[in-house]
Symmetry: C2
Subunit: 494 residues, 2 copies
């Protein structure tokens, strides 16, 4: 695989100086084009030590318009990063639409290094690579162009380069003990890398291997590759837009099968006395469990979805009553801000990931994509249809990190909803909660029911199952929720 | 000062239960009011150990609408926080307009604790308190209401409370060795705190001392205090809006005095040959210095301001050429995003503060407040007039943290500007840089000149002086900038 990058490609200084201005002009013009079309680009520059990654990145920074790009260098994660799922630190710096993000030390660095050092097994590496493919696929689906360049070097060249750096007192500092160690591990490194590159060279996001022995050659080649990919990306997008919308997207199957929601027994209820006793009991229990979870740095992500007036707010308050206000955040999810709109739709949820031992409570959530955005047509067909698997992957990333993920659907029937709307209109400080939208949404009850059924069917997983809450009786619902959270924490603390 | 909070105030359970619902209703209604008027509120809950801070905060979280508030708990700073100026971590969680931010462990905690433990001297504490007063004053000027509550407890009560907590196995874990140590230091703590509270009880942002021995009394009192303050704040705002605009704001004095900009010699220039030599020399030098600064974790904040077509972009590129792309970010400053608009105008610059050893290059900056916003009337008179001292305080916070702050004004004359506009219009990839706005701005040359002169006069400080760059000759300008940055780093590395 790397043979093609061991042929001794070179570019003369004269050739280089002739080609750069034209390349630069074109790159600058394409950046304007990306900007005007709100297209984002991710450029990964990876490769062997001494392959000239630093030089190429510095040149790209010179060539591109700095106002429309950003270089993100990743070394070891900060403590704030370590406390979140692996990809969080990449999500936090995702390029906004219309801009270019160059990644040095990307999501590939740690898995490859860990495999080379024997810290993870081959199957573990494969799992990492699968997650990487999923991440890149999701970004690509969202319209992000991912350009991946690998700078290769033969072992003797790597050796030579280190020697040269060491000899010059100006550059000797650059050569660390780690570099020398890496040199010895060249064969292992190259074989792990080759494997990783193969596994992640997908049709949408292939790797480009570039010979790194001559910096003029490698930077021109990388620059030209970026240029070609961006051009093609813009053209493809334009061609697609001129085509009729394809229906070549996953199909949601439903019909007159018995629905999941219909199977809920909305007569379930709890009298005031047992309610008060149980409320007391479970709040006390949760308080203790939450304290233990905080000490053990187990974070929680709780999702509250449900019909309007389904009782989300009240249930959240009964739950937070048992928590220490210093340890939780309620995240109300409304329309995205303009910064959020310039990113993948999951970005605005990633940014609120709790630190270790903390609790993030989402009052409405990423499920808006397959509920309101689907029903109201805010998301295009392929967008909400592919969201199911995106969401499953997203939540899997959280549970993999050890986060307790709980998802509650607060279910009521149409009569109960109307009763609550009327009730709210009588209470001065709740009046603002009822708007015309609420009544309008009622007319879409069937469409929403369908969406909820699909959602539950497609995103209930073993590690993050939906907890369907019979909500006509608020007391019953609140206890069920408290109990479920207690059980989840108990199982994680075991 | 604390005597008033040692009288044994109590509230009976019956009284408490009667008053809470009304208090809660009013708080919820006021939150709606705050929201509709885009007013933000900061609530600080501080006090002695065992004074019931945790309980009060938990209750506030129950009473208030969680969608419009957020509790920010500050313990020891994370590594990402330590790498930035002291107040950065508070800025990053400032409540947006229309919302309430409750701070546990606010900007007071560390200075007071450090003084109690003898880690800082009395004069050092005074300096901290002065910075706090400035911060609060600036937030208040921006329309933020700051409510500061101090929960007090007599020493014997503190002792009793700890004993009680210790006896119950359910709560014993809450009592740490640190608590017991604090108990011994009660007198010192109270006297340091009393002093700090006195110094920071300003007319705009006074402290409210609340007896903490009875949790019903303290939470009701704090709740009622918050209610009163918010009501008054909204009323005052409405009254002010109905008055004619006052001219009771700092005056900018200028007239026919010789202007600072006019004193620049725009004939200064550099021939191509010495330019190339010096460019080479200073880029090499800067590269070395920047590497050392990175190792020593000295960050830089560089500000580029100047006339349109003044050569900012080119100068930035000559400078970044000498830097490692992994270590710098160019921050293009354009119109604020909507998230930024919901905050103090300095917030969007705080968010880009570099991590230790990194370089943030602002292409336009916070000076927009006293330049374009002043001239075009985007900022109200009092807003831009008070911005001078806000900016000086802001930059002082950076230099105090050891950050190299450099501010460049790229000066050209009107003829040169026109020449460059015309030139740009001929270059395909630069055409987009010239818009009608640019020509429109030229008509405001005199107004901008005045604004620039005022800006330089009022914000050039010893630690962050303006570097005025004679820019008619680009070569001369670039070398002057490179040289200045080299000198700054040299002086900091000494």
């Amino acid at each position: 695989m790397f043979e093609i990058a061991e042929l001794g490609h070179k570019v003369s200084k004269a050739d280089y100086l002739e080609k750069v201005p034209e390349l630069r002009t074109q790159l600058l013009m394409l950046q304007q084009e990306l900007r005007s079309q709100d297209l984002s680009v991710i450029i990964l520059i990876s490769g062997v030590d001494g392959g000239g990654k630093g030089e190429v990145i510095n040149l790209l920074n010179e060539w591109l318009d700095p106002r429309l790009m950003r270089t993100n260098a990743y070394d070891s994660p900060s403590d704030e990063e370590k406390e979140r799922p692996e990809f969080w630190r990449f999500w936090r710096t995702m390029p906004a639409k219309g801009t270019v993000g160059i990644y040095v030390g990307s999501w590939y660095s740690q898995p490859i290094a860990n495999r080379v050092y024997g810290k993870i097994t081959e199957p573990e590496l494969q799992v990492h690579l699968r997650h990487i493919n999923e991440l890149e696929q999701e970004l690509a689906n969202d319209g992000t162009l991912i350009i991946k360049c690998w700078l290769h070097l033969k072992q003797e060249q790597q050796k030579k380069r280190l020697k040269k750096l060491e000899k010059d007192p100006e550059t000797a500092w650059q050569v660390t003990a780690r570099d020398k160690e890496h040199l010895k591990m060249y064969d292992t490194f190259v074989s792990v890398a080759e494997n990783a590159l193969k596994e992640t060279s997908t049709a949408a996001n292939p790797w480009r291997i570039v010979e790194g022995s001559d910096i003029r050659y490698s930077s021109l080649t990388v620059g030209q590759h970026i240029l070609d990919k961006i051009k093609l990306h813009i053209e493809t997008k334009q061609r697609k837009e001129s085509l009729p919308p394809s229906s070549d997207t996953p199909q949601i199957i439903h019909g007159n099968q018995p629905s999941i929601l219909d199977s809920l027994d909305l007569n379930l209820s709890l009298d005031k006395k047992p309610y008060n006793e149980q409320l007391n009991y479970y709040q006390g229990k949760l308080n203790k469990l939450a304290r233990q979870a905080h000490e053990k740095k187990i974070s929680s992500v709780l999702v509250f979805e449900g019909w309007d007036a389904g009782g989300k707010g009240g249930a959240i308050r009964r739950l937070t009553h048992a928590l220490d206000a210093r340890n939780y955040q309620v995240i109300p999810v409304a329309a995205p801000t303009d910064e959020e709109r310039m990113q993948h739709y999951l970005w605005r949820f990633w940014r609120h990931m709790p630190r270790a031992g903390k609790v993030s409570i989402y009052d409405r959530s990423w499920y808006g994509r397959v509920l309101v955005e689907r029903v109201e047509g805010f998301a295009k067909d392929p967008e909400w249809k592919r969201a199911y698997s995106e969401i499953v992957n997203f939540e899997e990333a959280l549970t993999r990190h050890g986060i307790a993920v709980l998802k509650f659907w607060l279910h009521i029937d149409q009569d109960e909803q109307l009763r609550r709307f009327k009730e709210r209109e009588q209470i001065s400080y709740k009046k603002h909660k009822i708007t015309e939208d609420d009544y309008r949404n009622r007319n879409q009850w069937d469409a929403y029911s369908l969406a909820v059924n699909d959602m539950v069917a497609r995103t209930s997983t073993q590690s993050a199952p939906w907890i369907l809450v019979e909500g006509n009786d608020k007391r019953y619902a609140r206890i069920k929720i408290l109990k479920a959270y207690c059980e989840k924490l108990e199982s994680l603390l075991d």
